[in-house]
């Protein structure tokens, strides 16, 4: 697959907080339009167009589809064909935090859920690691220490390079950031 040679001149890149990572001002979210209900020809072209225009960040989550998981599977297929020479030019993210599978271990913020969900996401996308792994929503019943130490563990295991949080309000976000 040949992509536009001037793709990086098209986009503005901004530093992500105080980190070493730059992100494109516009990133592509795969919440909708990449499930099994969608047309592969259409979303494949969307991914090509994104990268051709300097979009280096594709944002996924365990539950994106429908059905849940299918966006990661479908994205993974295209990644390993059309983008196989470009993995190191991409920031790929996934998340866990919403309902993903039956029973008490497929939802919210336990270490059990986060670690196993990321393993499933990596299998679906056929990746060794994601660039960013998020806790998708705050869990009022799990100790924050457990959720955050799961994120830390995942990075130490090499399954994610960076971590993030999503949908945390300011008072809830304070503790994970500070200290």
């Amino acid at each position: 697959m040949k992509f536009s040679s001037d793709r990086y001149t098209q986009m503005q890149y901004r530093r992500c907080g105080d980190s070493g990572i730059l992100l494109p001002a516009i990133s592509l979210g795969l919440w909708h339009n990449f499930g099994d209900v969608d047309d592969p020809k259409v979303y494949r072209k969307t991914l090509h167009t994104a990268f051709d225009n300097g979009i280096t960040h594709f944002d996924l989550a365990n539950n994106y589809g429908p059905p849940p998981g299918s966006a990661e599977t479908n994205f993974g297929k295209i990644l390993h064909t059309d983008f196989k020479d470009h993995r190191d030019e991409l920031i790929i993210s996934s998340k866990a935090g919403y309902t993903m599978w039956d029973g008490p271990y497929g939802d919210w913020g336990s270490k059990k859920y986060l670690v196993s969900s990321l393993d499933q996401s990596l299998k679906r996308m056929k990746l060794d690691y994601v660039d960013i792994f998020y806790h998708h929503r705050p869990d009022p019943d799990t100790p924050l220490e457990e959720t955050m130490s799961a994120l830390d563990l995942i990075v130490r295991q090499g399954k994610a390079l960076y971590v993030g949080i999503s949908n945390y309000k300011a008072p809830e976000a304070k503790k994970p950031f500070i200290c």
Binding site: D18, K45, T46, I132, V163
Partner: protein
Amino acid sequence: MLKKMGTPCLIHQPKYSMYERWVEDGLLDLLGKEGVGCIPFSPLAQGLLTNKYLKGIPRNSRAAKSHGFLQKDAITEDRVDQLKKLNEIASDRGQSLAQMALAWLLKDKRVTSVLVGASSAEQLLDSLKCLNNTSFDKIELNGIEGILKS
């Protein structure tokens, strides 16, 4: 907590648009202060901030489908009026309403990136044009605030 563990938080992904602004109530300040990036999702408020609703509710839109999360009652006559007025400011800036809504988020340097969805390559290219103008003058900003509060 994450810093102490040696894995600082890289980024926060909140829902943020002209119609959902809770992040301005402390979160953006916190992210700026702690050096954490910010990548808003739903920047177009589930498609509300597009030209789709300027003439009412089209039959195939998300608002018309019962299972969509943008419910019919989100589109009131007052809301359509607001959207029309916002669209006038966008036109003066040489942008569509959607392009202005994306640019409006990017005016804040604490916002690292904005997540857009795209049902086609054409729609994505259209969104990308927001980058041609991401600065707003006082008159435009006040105009937008006035409309959103009306």
